[in-house]
Symmetry: C2
Subunit: 259 residues, 2 copies
Amino acid sequence: MDGLRPFEGETDEVTRAVETGTLYGVGMGPGDPDLLTVKALRILQRAPVLVHFCKQGKRGNARGIADAIFSDPSREMALAYPYTTELHPEHPDYVSALATFYDEASDKLAGHLDAGRDVAILSEGDPFFYGSFMHLWRRLKDRFPVDVIPGVTGMSGCWTRAGTPITWGDDVLTVLPATLPLPVLTERLKGTDAAVVMKLGRHLPKVRAALTEAGLLSRAVYVERGTMAGERVIPLEVKADDSAPYFSMVLVPGEGRRP
Amino acid sequence: MDGLRPFEGETDEVTRAVETGTLYGVGMGPGDPDLLTVKALRILQRAPVLVHFCKQGKRGNARGIADAIFSDPSREMALAYPYTTELHPEHPDYVSALATFYDEASDKLAGHLDAGRDVAILSEGDPFFYGSFMHLWRRLKDRFPVDVIPGVTGMSGCWTRAGTPITWGDDVLTVLPATLPLPVLTERLKGTDAAVVMKLGRHLPKVRAALTEAGLLSRAVYVERGTMAGERVIPLEVKADDSAPYFSMVLVPGEGRRP
C-alpha cells in the first residue's frame, strides 16, 4: 500500500546497484500540516531528496506547509521559476523559458533517481489538480517508478473553513481559473449550480464582473489562506479592495436538494 | 489547530457539567486508509461516538475505510438510510422519508452532544462535497460546536490511480452527477475542458450517450474502487458491461497548456 522501498538494509547488493529511486508527487493539502495524509507525512519524513517550487528569491508555498514536518537543508532542493506573473502564460518567451526550466529540473532529479535516491516533489493541494508537479512527472514518468499521493485540495480547505458545503444533491460544480477571458468566465458561471474560481491574482475585478453578469455576486464568498494562519473569509460583495494573494479563491456554494 | 478537547482530566467540574460535545465531520478520503489526514486519524482514535451511514442490512462504505483504524463496537453508531436507490430522489415519499430519517438521526446525536460526548461522523471523501453529513450538520450546527475535517475526495483518488492529471493550465473542470437528465449532461460536457461524472449507479448507459454526443467518449476513463482493493481502471470505450458500483466514476482528463 505504501510503495516506499527501504533506504538501507538491502541484502542483495547486485539488485541494489541497478535499482533506481522512485519519483513521489506528494499532495501537501490546503495549508494546515494536520491535513497532510498519513502517507504523505511518512514520505516527507523519509525521502532523501525533497523538492519544492518557488518564486525567485522567495520561499515556496508548499515548503512552508512542511515547516512543521522537517528542517534538514541537506535533503532540500528548491526549483525557482524563471517567471511567475511577469509575462502572460501564452507569451512565447514564457512558454519557452518554462519548458527549459522543467527540462533542466527534470535532468537534476533524474540524476538523483538514477543514483537510487527517492525524490519527493512537494505539491500544494493535490498533485494532479493544476500542479506544477505534472510538468516534471510528464518528463520522468516513463523512465522511473512513480507514486503520486493525492492530497486535500485547496478548494476543499477553503469551503470547509468558509463553513459552507459546496454541492448538494444534483448540483453541478464548475472549477474555473480566473485567468480565462471575461466572456468565457461569465458564460461558464451562468451554466453552473456551484463554482470555485482559482488563480485569482490580479484578476479579481474581472471575476467580480463575471459573477455580477451571471447573477451570482451575492452568493460569492472570498477565502484567503484557508486553514492557515492569517485566514480570512468574507462575502465577496463586502471585500473592499481587489488584492488577492496566492492562497485565495472565490466560492459560489450550490443550493441543491436538502431533504 | 486540532480543536479536540480533552475527554478526561478537566479540573473545573462546574464548567465540565455544562459543556456540550463537538460535532466532527470527518473526511475519510477515497478509500485507502493511508490517505486519511493526520487530523482525521486522531479524531477517529479518540472520539467516543463514531457514526456512519449505511444501506439497510449492509455495512457502510465509510465504515469500511476505518477497518484498519478501529474496531470497538461500543463507540459505533450505524445510521441506515430508509431508501437508497429504491425511489427517485425527487419522489415525495423519498424526500419525506429522508427528512424524517435525518431529523431522528440528529436527535440521537444531539443526545450524545448534550451529554458532553464528542460525535464524529464518518464521511467518504470530503464531508462538504456531496456528503450525507451535510444533512445532519445543517440540523445541528446552530446548537453545538462543529469542526469539519476536509478529506481527499474520491475523484482525486481516482484520477491519481488512473495515472492522469485532471487539469492543466487554464482547463475548466466540471463535476457532474450522473443522475442529471441526458440533455443537461450532454450540454455541460460540451462546454468543458475536463470532467468528472459521479454517482454512476444505473446511469452509465446515459453517461456513455452524453459523452458520445459531446465528442468525449474516446477520452473517458472508467475508474472503480480507486485506491482500494479490487481497483479497476479502463478506458470507458473498452468497458463491455454497464454495471457501476458505489465507488466508481468516469473521468475526462483535460488537455491544457503543457510547457
